[in-house]
Amino acid sequence: MNERLELMKNRVRAGEHRSLRRSAPIDVLAECEAENLSWPRRVARLVRRQCEAEQVVIGAEEQIVFTRTLPAVPAIYSSEDWRRLTAGRTLHELGPVSNICADWSLLLSQGLLGRKQTAVDSRRRFSNDPSAVEFLDCAIEDIDAVLGLSARYAHQARVMGREDLAQVLENVPAHPARTFQEALQSLRLCHAVVWLGGNYHVGLGRFDQYMWPYLQADLATGRLTITQAEDLLAEFFISLNKDSDLYPGVQQGDNGQTLTLGGVTAGGDPAVNELTYMVLRVARELAMIDPKINLRLSAQTDLELLCLATELTRIGLGFPQYSNDDVVIPALVEHGYQLEDARDYVVAACWEFIIPGRGMEVVNIGAVSFPAAVDQAVREGLVGGDDFHKLLDRVKVHIREQVDHLAETYSHLLLPPAPYYSLFMQGCLEQGRDLSQGLKYNNFGIHGAGSSNAADALAAVQKFVFDERSISADALLSALDSNFAGGEPLRKILEEQGPKVGNNDPAADDLLVRLFDDLAEACEQRPRTGPGGILRPGTGSAMYYLWLAAGHERMREPVVGATADGRLQGKPFSANLAPSPGVCVRGPLSTLQSFAKINYHRIFNGGPITMELSDSVFRDSESIRKTAMLVRTFARLGCQQLQLNSLCLDTLLDAKAHPENHKNLIVRVWGWSGYFCELAPEYQDHIIARHLYEIN
């Protein structure tokens, strides 16, 4: 990385640009109330006023501009009106549409003026449909607002004598991009405005696909050298890190600014190109938390590409995260996605597979707590004198209860309108419909959390209580009730001698598979959701591995005490797909073999196998290559998603003790990477514990 970029990166990390931010949010509420605006018009007005209030900031050396100066998204309803508006309805997380992905090629190939023309044509066609007219008016209002903002940037560039930049800004985002730089600039501005309007977890989609034509042309005509292109890309990536602290999330870094690389084209041909490699190279050089990278692969993927990807893992970025096309695409097709769309999938903020520009999916409406379902079943079953088969039936019932509860809650989902975001979705302008009214795909996702602990608990009950009869039902029940007080020997037996997920041991793995099949069945038997979609079951756990174990105010799911796998009350559950915390398993291959058994054609909402490898594994190019082979093995075994982390225990412990020395230490948390020192202590501890057991 050259000096200019190094400096730029350091400035962003130091937060110098934050001094340019305005302190108080602008007031939009007053005019919304005075004019008694409808909800869509309020949202459109919000985006417009935000664009108008943005101060133009052009750094002397910047080639890709836009620095956000409005830190807050102002209210458009008084809290009283908001309560009235949303009474009896379910809001997803904070409310605004989040965690979907635009089709950015619409912007790059047509420009905002192209989109505006479509809106104007539709408005004429739908002139008798007031809601369509209103939506299209809102869309046009926001297009004009963004054009106004970019015109001010262009003007300022001229004033500063930056002819090069002015020419770029005079063309984009208004018109189709002509060059790689224009494409990046257009995306930077229009993507940032989505955040500015209060939408979040704004994905970047298949970056190496929609950007490639522009880069390819520049390279072919000699307009750019590879190095120049890399510099532009690096600058674009740095710009994505400017506002990380403003993005809402459970922890800083949880911002869903992801992009997806590789995979296949709509026609099924390999989609990897020179930009795929370039993105990985530049991300390795930069070593920043954004953008978070997903790499699609298959059993046939080139080892060379996986080696480069492994280099990113080596420096501890916690990405790329891998998704297996061989498994994901057929599962999507089986559940009603058109083949061409399925081939175009990207990974949402964390793990879920969504279709850019075609999905208004709420991919994480909540988690089913497997440990809670198992705990209830074990207690009832042991008291009631069940055989093990009957106990398993109870598990299924409790899983279904949780699914039903979540699904009922979300049948009252209320999605706020998002006219600006709708510009970049397929069909919204053409049909005069806001994206919140539904797109081609409108499914919901549910994850099954704490799966390994739950399967281990069932396996322990089966082995010790039913098969060997070495632990009585009463002894186990009273140990669970008392959190193993005075029962440490019993707890040790459960923890150390029970079958465990991650060892390729059918005694535990079969129960894991069964839990997920129960979840799939509960989802498959639900009636269609409100907007006409299905429930997609997945294997992720987000923050639930802590919340379900210890309780949390923002959680609807039940808390569980001590569990039959020997886990003490309050101790975290397994995160995503990983062996239970504290369990020492045979190794990475066995772990992959265990998780390969899940029926991913039914469990297709994503959620990665999460593995930590000691940084000593990455010592030389030979072992990098072996790690790449491990990734390929993941695909060949038919697993769905993989997140590999490189961790050095000493570094983490030192970072906890001396955060000031480790400001740039990046770790993977659940579906995302963040700066270790910016995480809450319980998350830091969990990461440390994960590693402590890994080397044991």
Partner: protein
């Protein structure tokens, strides 16, 4: 240790660890079986739980675990065979290390015979009877052969054994024409002296089958597991002294040398 099983006499053995994805124990993706028990007691040994054949409890901040588990050859082979196809697909296989595989040669040979489609690497200190060595050699595709000290007195002092059986097995190895790698732990002031390295180079130069020499610089974490195993680490050399990484003696004699 001998068990009756399905009418066949089957040997059992003691293993102190089975590690998957060992990236520094040979080509490709490998699983390494650590046999418990070693005829040498090298002062710098970093796997003290590998020395005795008896099961031992290892205590660390992460908890306790029992090092040392008995397997029949069929049990161990079955476990390993669950993955041999994956290992072969990834240019790898099974490595038998320790401790010292020669200490349980009968058992190890049976396991090797039961493996399906696996590249087998024998990682040995070379100390054992010629018959045992030959038995495992015949069943291996690649041999990692340790050489520590050429001087007999020094060898006796630092490993508590005579080194002449090692040289004799080295000859057997070379006669077999199997590919092998000589591995030399560089212990500061002990094995890393120019004199010892020259002597090693002269001993191995020109041997048939020799692929290269790996120099393994001393790892200061050598003593870290002793406390876990309830043992005391007592080196009589200076651990902090910089390691002398001298590749010249090997290069002079045309022996390929790598620093691991």
């Amino acid at each position: 240790m001998i068990n009756e099983n399905a009418g066949q006499i089957m040997t059992s053995g003691i293993v102190f660890d089975i590690k998957e994805f060992t990236v520094h124990d040979g080509p490709g993706i490998r699983t390494t079986v650590f046999l418990k028990g070693c005829p040498l007691s090298c002062m710098w040994c970093h796997n003290p739980e590998g020395q005795s054949m008896r099961p031992q409890i290892m205590r660390s901040p992460a908890g306790e675990r029992l090092a040392g588990r008995e397997y029949t050859s069929a049990q161990l082979a079955e476990l390993l065979n669950q993955q041999t196809a994956i290992l072969s697909e990834n240019e790898g296989g099974i490595t038998f290390s320790g401790g010292e595989p020669l200490m349980q040669a009968e058992f190890v040979a049976e396991v090797m015979d039961l493996l399906r489609n696996a590249h087998v690497l024998l990682d040995t200190c070379g100390f054992g009877s010629e018959m045992d060595f030959q038995k495992l050699l015949d069943r291996s595709d690649l041999i990692y052969f340790d050489l520590k000290l050429i001087d007999p007195a020094a060898h006796l002092h630092y490993t508590a054994q005579d080194n002449s059986p090692i040289f004799s097995n080295l000859k057997t190895l070379s006669r077999s024409e199997k590919p092998f790698v000589v591995r030399v732990p560089l212990v500061p002031g002990v094995t890393d002296t120019d004199e010892n390295l020259n002597a090693i180079a002269r001993t191995i130069a020109g041997l048939r089958g020799l692929e290269r020499v790996d120099l393994l610089p001393y790892n200061r974490a050598a003593g870290s597991k002793y406390r876990c195993a309830g043992l005391e680490f007592r080196p009589d050399y200076d651990e902090l002294r910089p390691v002398n990484i001298n590749m010249t003696p090997f290069e002079h004699l045309g022996v390929k040398v790598l620093v691991a």
